[in-house]
């Protein structure tokens, strides 16, 4: 039997003493016990560490495998209000879906009153609406049925930051694409061109979905194991040979296709900003793969084959 004392990482005050804790108890279970004596700190907002300035221990860590004596001393840090990833994703993706449609249907107070509830005369505008809407419906469905999240929650303030980004850009793009004075691709870029951009967009959407499914299948339900992703029977996953995070590669491709389809500068900006952010994420993920797996395939680049 062990004893556990929990101190505040900043003030070193004794917050909680748990006596008679099973040696094979996990940090997750200890968090639940701490939650009982401090109901305002639900487990998701607790960071428990061995050292006040050290890394957080994982929920799966077992008490007796940690370097502690008969009485284990842990330090607690409040991570702040938390919100689940699923909630954040659903909110940040529903916004663009709805907002774009408001502009597409030319709801009042956006454009001059004589255009209220009219539709664009350019067929590429209808196509763009279908692509944009399909993209976000796909994201919502993936959030509900495909993705397996490592962390359940993120800090609450992220939802405001993320929604501002997605909703803001969606409004900015949609305003111009659905504007009565929108200029479609010129006569030099004919129907063939638009259809090619559409095919490219669809190709990348399927590719992105394939990668999400392949990543999901790496991890059995409820587990947090990490494995190296490899190409599967699905040809869209063969890109794993050259890239660590092909989901981002395909996502970039989709937005490039959408930019070329709509010939709209704000869309190009959105694509660029997204590309920068995804590159940062891809490099981080690639680095963790290299650190964790000795046998990680050396040919792979983070996001763009051989280049980035």
């Amino acid at each position: 039997m062990k004893h556990v004392e929990i101190l505040d990482a900043k003030t070193k005050d004794k917050l909680c003493f748990l006596d008679k804790v099973e040696p094979n108890a996990t940090i997750g279970e200890i968090k639940s016990m701490f939650h009982k004596s401090h109901p305002q700190f639900y487990p998701a907002r607790q960071s428990i560490r061995l050292d006040p300035k050290g890394k957080s221990l994982k929920d799966e860590d077992v008490l007796q495998h940690l370097p502690v004596g008969t009485t284990a001393t842990f330090y607690f840090r409040d991570l702040g209000a938390q919100i689940s990833w699923v909630t954040v994703f659903l909110t940040e993706y529903t916004g663009p879906l709805v907002i774009y449609l408001l502009f597409y249907f030319r709801v009042p107070f956006i454009y001059a009153p004589k255009y209220d509830f009219t539709t664009s005369k350019h067929w590429v505008v209808h196509l763009a609406c279908m692509c944009h809407s399909f993209h976000y419906v796909k994201r919502l469905l993936e959030t509900l049925f495909v993705h397996r999240f490592s962390h359940g929650t993120m800090p609450l303030r992220n939802i405001f930051k993320n929604c501002s980004y997605y909703w803001g850009f969606a409004a900015w793009m949609a305003y111009y694409i659905n504007h009565p004075l929108y200029t479609p691709p010129s006569e030099f870029t004919n129907i063939q061109f638009i259809l090619v951009t559409l095919e490219f967009f669809n190709f990348c959407q399927i590719g992105n979905l394939s990668i999400h499914i392949a990543l999901r299948n790496l991890r059995p339900p409820g587990s947090k194991t990490r494995k190296i992703p490899y190409p599967t029977k699905n040809p869209f996953t063969w890109i794993f040979v050259l890239v660590s995070c092909p989901n981002y590669t395909y996502e970039l491709g989709s937005w490039l296709g959408f930019t070329l389809m709509t010939q709209c500068l704000p869309v190009a900006f959105f694509t660029l900003v997204g590309f920068i952010q995804m590159t940062v994420w891809a490099k981080g993920k690639h680095r963790s793969y290299l650190k964790e797996f000795r046998d990680y395939p050396p040919l792979r680049s983070p996001i763009l084959p051989f280049v980035l």
Partner: protein
């Protein structure tokens, strides 16, 4: 003062700061900037004495102002490279807002150049920068006179609001001319399917002062307490 690293406990693990070459470069940079803003100060004083009025003094220092204020862009590079321990984003923001006022407002809208508000912010900037760059120079040489440190963390009480007032009045004065000429603005339709209204943008910039200025001001007040609060430790050492 030489002290062994162990005497400070784990202090030697803190960031090591610029090397000897970088320090030499930074001293030169800060000396040059101090000199530059002194030139502007002297230019303003001489022009005032010659004309006998505050009106139109901008023209007498227009070139050095543009040169030295634009040169401050190097400070963003200093942070990016790591020879100065400040945030790239924060420094970038501060420098670019000055550059914006110098070029995109004062230079671009000729009609505001004779406004008194321009003199207001130029004076605030000049005094601030002379103190700031000499502060950095002396700090790098490890011989910071208390007077300079005190000035840096005290003059801002007046100089910040003075500069902000000058800046806002100048932007406000520029508005009608921007609207009339459509300066830097792009309208629909065009093949990029993009539009930009500089007039609206300037109004948004003015509004952005409301949340930003108090944050910067109170940050300086907090810094003042931290830095000048250690008066007892420092005065003996210097």
């Amino acid at each position: 003062i030489e002290t062994k690293p162990e005497a400070h406990g784990h202090n030697y693990l803190k960031r090591k700061g610029p090397g000897a070459l970088a320090t030499a470069y930074l001293v030169i940079y800060n000396v040059v900037m101090t000199a530059g803003w002194l030139v502007i100060a002297v230019g303003l004083a001489r022009a005032y004495l010659a004309r006998g009025s505050y009106h139109g003094l901008y023209y007498s220092i227009e070139k050095p102002l543009k040169f030295f204020q634009t040169g401050a862009i190097l400070e963003i590079l200093h942070c990016a490279v790591g020879i100065v321990p400040s945030s790239v984003v924060l420094t970038g923001f501060q420098v670019m807002s000055r550059v914006f006022l110098t070029w995109a407002v004062t230079h671009s809208v000729r009609e505001v150049q004779s406004e008194d508000s321009v003199l207001l912010f130029v004076t605030a900037w000049t005094v601030t920068e002379i103190i700031r760059y000499s502060f950095y120079t002396f700090s790098l040489l490890n011989h910071l006179p208390y007077l300079i440190k005190w000035a840096r963390y005290t003059f801002f009480f007046v100089l910040y609001p003075m500069g902000v007032t000058g800046e806002l009045l100048t932007i406000y004065a520029a508005l009608p001319f921007v609207q009339k000429t459509g300066l830097y603005s792009v309208t629909l339709p065009n093949k990029y399917n993009f539009s930009f209204d500089y007039y609206t943008f300037l109004i948004l910039v003015m509004f952005s002062y409301i949340p930003l200025f108090p944050q910067l001001y109170f940050h300086m007040i907090r810094q003042r307490k931290k830095v000048l609060g250690q008066v007892e430790d420092y005065s003996k050492v210097e």
